[in-house]
Structure formats: C-alpha cells, structure tokens
C-alpha cells in the first residue's frame, strides 16, 4: 500500500505542476496589460502601478510564475479586486454551501442510479431495462439549468410546495434549508444518477456472468441473495470508484444549478467573479477545484487498491 501510494504521488507531482502552469497561464490570455484589466473599470493609475509591482509584471514570465507558485504554496491565492478580501477566504466561505449541495446531490444520485442499474441488469431486455435506459438517456441529455427552470415552474409556481430560490443555513433552520436544497440537489443528482445507472448496469452484467455467481446459484441460493450478497457487493467497488470521478461533473453542474436557484456557493462565486472581472478569484476557484479533484482521484484509487486484494503484492 505504501509503495503504491509513493508511486501514485510521484505521478501526481508533475500533474500539479502542470495544473499550476495552466492556471497561471490563463492570465496570459488577457489581451493587453493584465494590470490595467485587473485594476477594474476605473483603471486608476495608482492601482495599475501597485498591481504591476505586486504581480511582478515587469519581471520575466518564469520569475512571475515562481512568485505566484510561492504565494500559492503559502496559501496566498491573491486578493479579490472587488472586495479586497483574500481569495482563499472567499473560497473557504462559499465552499460549505456547495459541499452540502454536492453531498445531497450525490445521495440522490446513489439512491436512484444504483437500484435503476441493478434492476436494468437483472431484468435485461425487459420493459424495466428499457425504462431504466430511457431514464439514463433523459438524464444525460437534459441540460440541468432547464430541468431546474421546469421544476421551479411545477413545484414553486404551480404547486407552491418549494421555494424557487434563496438559501437558508442548516444552523438557522434545517427544514427550510432542506426545502431550499431539495430541487437544486435533485437537478444536480439527476445527471449523475444516469451515469451511475450505466456504470451499475455494465458492472452487474459483467459480475452476473462470473463463475462464482453461477456457483452461488447452483448451491440453491435464492436469486435475491445471489444478486444482492454475491453480485452487487462485488460490482459496487468499481461503481463507487467511478462515482468518485463524477466529482468534476458535480462541480460543473453546481455552477449552473446555483445560478438557477440563486444559491450563494462556489459556482455562483466563479460566475460573479467572471462578470466582475475579478480574475484572481476565477484562478483561485479553478486551482482549488483541480486540487480537490486530484485529491479525490487519489482517494478513489487508494480505496480501490485497498478493497481489491488482487492488486496487493
């Protein structure tokens, strides 16, 4: 396990370096002098001069990159041009809201996706299988911001059951928090459920044709026991590993979902920063997202390694 971890970390190091170069490089795409653009619409000459000095814009590119990476390693992601707050503080403030949304969405995806995939594989070729496949296609083809608008139309405008927008902290009122998060979490979970359904279906089909499942059946075990205890348990590992990789989809989806339901999370932060031309915040959000994705990938790999005895030496 330790050796595996070291090997895996060795491949992560260069990836992280490239990620940092990529995100630093975004700034180079800005046309003209970055200091003038970063200074906002007022373009105060004092601010421009200050930014030139602060961002080391008069130094060569590799030197500027070294300064930037040095800052990042010390936890300094720069500061927001709008609010003058450190980017890291802004990200840390908004992160819990998005994490709650992501966790609820993932729970909904698991509750829908895995049973749907299971039924689809066990009842292959039947109406249930077709229904589950149709559900997956619907999930993969529906833009989540449209689904969000349709749900607002039905559950807020027509039925008046759920609030159309806004966010209430769970510490203020848990019931109001869950009422506000129900629709966004479903919208976000819907697409992931479709992916999980497809993964579950193919993993179950593979496992159900394995020798040990035939042995379990020939021992006279009930079909329920064969499917749930023998097949599903073995199929779950790859499903969970692949599910962890859906984190990126979850965050991308959160950007749009938060916009539709006006939830003050991570996604809304990046969109607002784009329109405020607050580029340091945009860079900070991308950097934190990418680092979290790499860390989650590593955890998924480790979980897969730990749960699969055949990979151990």
């Amino acid at each position: 396990m330790f050796q595996f971890l070291i090997k895996r970390l060795a491949t992560i190091a260069p990836t992280l370096v490239f990620v940092s170069m990529l995100i630093f490089g975004l700034q180079q795409l800005l046309p003209g002098d970055p200091a003038v653009i970063l200074a906002g619409e007022e373009r105060d000459p004092n601010v421009v001069a200050y930014l030139h000095q602060k961002l080391h814009l008069d130094d060569p590119l590799p030197v500027r990159y070294a300064y930037w990476v040095g800052g990042v390693l010390r936890g300094d992601l720069g500061e927001s041009v709008r609010t003058q707050q450190p980017v890291l503080d802004l990200v840390v403030q908004k992160l819990p809201v998005t994490i709650e949304l992501a966790v609820l969405a993932m729970l909904i995806a698991l509750v829908i996706g895995i049973p749907a995939g299971l039924v689809s594989a066990v009842a292959r070729g039947t109406a249930w299988d077709h229904l589950a496949n149709a559900f997956a296609l619907w999930g993969l083809s529906t833009p989540n911001f449209w689904l969000g608008i349709l749900m607002i139309l039905l559950f807020s405008v027509q039925l008046g059951w759920l609030p159309a927008s806004g966010y209430v902290s769970p510490f203020e009122s848990l019931s109001q928090n869950l009422a506000a998060m129900a629709m966004p979490a479903f919208v976000l979970g819907n697409a992931i459920a479709a992916v999980l359904m497809r993964h579950t279906r193919s993993a179950m089909l593979q496992v159900l044709s394995a020798d040990y499942v035939r042995t379990a059946r020939s021992k006279g075990l009930t079909e329920r026991s064969v499917v749930l205890k023998h097949a599903l348990r073995n199929a779950l590992t790859p499903i969970i590993t692949l599910g962890a990789l859906e984190f990126g989809t979850l965050l991308s989806g959160a950007v749009l979902t938060e916009q539709v339901f006006t939830i003050p999370g991570f996604g809304k932060l990046i969109v607002d920063s784009v329109f405020n031309r607050d580029y340091a915040v945009v860079q900070g959000v991308v950097l934190v997202t990418a680092t979290a994705y790499i860390a989650l990938n590593l955890l998924a790999d480790l979980a897969y390694f730990a749960s699969n005895p055949r990979l151990r030496p």
């Binding site: 993969l140 950007v255 784009v274």
Partner: protein, 294 residues
C-alpha cells in the same frame, strides 16, 4: 467465362461487405440510432434554411406583442421584448450546431495528433503529454471552459475555442490508449519490417485502425459541446444578445417563469432533442463500430 464468374463471385461480396458499408447496414437496423440521425439531419436543415423557415425576424422587437402566449400568429409565443420565440429557436439552432461541430473539430484536430504522438513515440514524450493531459482533466470541463472564456472574452467564437480546448484531453487520452493497443499488432510490425518510415506507419496504418472509437467519441462529444455552449450562453459567456441562442433565451426565460413559461419550454426542448439525438446516434455508432465498448 468461368474466370469472369469467379472474379464476380469474389468481387460481389467484397463490395457488399466493406467495413463502412457493413457498419451502415448495422446502424440502419437500430431504430433509436436512425431516429437520432434523422433528427440531427432535420436540425441541420433547420439551421441552413433558418431565414426561410422562421416566420419572423429573430431580433425584431415588438412592444405591442410582449410575452404573448402561443397563438396562431406566434406558435411558440413571444418573449419579454416581443420577439417571436419560434423564430429565435429556429435561428438558435445555428449557434448550437456550429458550437457543437466547431468545438469538437478543434478537440479532434488537436487531440488526435497529440494522442497519436504520445502512444506511438512513447517514452518521455508520452510521459510529458500524459501528465499535461492529467492536468487538463483535473479541471472540471465546464469550469475550465468558463475560466477560458472569461479570460478570452465572452463571445460565441471564444466559447467554441474554450469548449474545444477543454474537451481536447479526452481525445488525447482515447487516441493514446487505442494507439498503444494497435501498435503491437502484427500488421504494424510488418509495415515496419517493410521499411516504412514511422510517420507513414502512424498516418497510414495506425490512424485508420484507431478511428472508429474516435468517431463514436466525437459524436458523443458534440452532444456535450451543445450542452456546454448552451451553458456558457446561459451564464452570459457565449452568444451575446440580441443574437439568438438557446442558452441565452433560457437565461432570460428564468426571470419570467411565472407569467411566460413558454419562453423556457421551447428552447430547452430544442437543446434536449438535439443532445438526445446526438447521444442516440453516438450510442448506435458505438454498438456498430466499437462492439467491445458495448
């Protein structure tokens, strides 16, 4: 006479069973894939014929026809400044299809040669390209596209570039994996033994054999790119007003969902139908061209 018959007997099945012809025949037997193909073709026709199909000018406002419900004059109703929703949906097809095709062409043109180089050359080149690909893949697709279009400036061209660049790593990785499988085959060894130069082997022998899964991926990627363009336009980073785009129409529609729901229904339905069709076509092509992935 007998020689002619023999040639005909050999030639006839060969013409009938060429790999592409065989693939088409198998595809034609799948109703869902055929449905996808027909709808995609229909959207292409709508995009090309938009000026003749749309009943009104898509950007012409009418203050006397604000937020009118669907009627015999305005089949899909009108929007917040009196523009005909049907005409805007029809013209919006152009932005969506263009974004889908151009963005995926960018990914394909960048990703396939890079993946081919990584898989075929191997060693340090492969290591470098693979780590770079990992770095791109670590940034969630839409977030990278948002960041790129934010820095490049919000318009449809930059959105297409941003989506294309963000989707490139998927093509790099897929091409590399396919090339690594193919390059150990006997026919590549034979081509090498015959003295072919590496570039020629890569172009003439490796590339044609890795194309089918890439075509499948490209079809599915167009579906993803259409959603991505709609998403960027929804956020205000794609097609800029007043030019019509399904995503920006939905952005406006969300503010009038309580009194003009038709503004949200039709553009969303158009995105759904186009993306569904590309997904159905892609799934069908995968079954036909790449049965291992089924």
């Amino acid at each position: 006479m007998s020689a002619t018959l023999a040639t005909a007997a050999f030639d006839a099945p060969r013409a009938e069973t060429g790999p592409w012809r065989r693939a088409w025949r198998r595809l034609a037997r799948r109703p869902s894939a055929l449905f996808g193909l027909v709808v995609v073709v229909a959207f292409v026709v709508v995009a090309l014929g938009a000026p003749w199909i749309a009943p009104f000018d898509p950007i012409e406002t009418s203050w006397s026809a604000i937020r009118q419900a669907p009627s015999a004059v305005h089949w899909f109703g009108t929007d917040d400044i009196g523009r005909d929703v049907l005409s805007r949906v029809v013209f919006g097809t152009r932005a969506s299809l263009l974004a889908g095709v151009v963005a995926v062409s960018i990914s394909f043109a960048l990703g396939v040669p890079i993946g081919l180089a990584a898989g075929f050359i191997g060693g340090v080149v492969d290591g470098f390209i693979s780590r770079l690909t990992d770095a791109f893949l670590a940034c969630p697709f839409l977030i990278l596209a948002i960041a790129l279009s934010a820095f490049l400036g919000p318009n449809l061209t930059n959105a297409m570039i941003a989506i294309g660049v963000s989707a490139t790593p998927i093509f790099v990785r897929l091409t590399r994996a396919q090339v690594i499988n193919v390059k150990v085959e006997d026919y590549i060894e034979a081509a090498r033994a015959l003295g072919n130069r590496p570039l020629r082997i890569a172009w003439r022998h490796v590339l044609p054999n890795v194309l089918p899964p890439l075509i499948v991926q490209a079809t599915l990627a167009i579906a993803a790119a259409v959603i991505a363009e709609a998403s960027l336009s929804f956020l205000g980073l794609g097609q800029q007003p007043p030019a019509p785009s399904w995503g920006s129409m939905l952005n406006t529609a969300k503010n009038y969902v309580d009194n003009a729901p038709w503004m949200a229904i039709w553009p969303g339905l158009a995105i759904f139908l186009l993306v569904l069709s590309f997904n159905l076509l892609g799934d069908g092509l995968r079954d036909v061209l790449d049965p291992r992935q089924r």
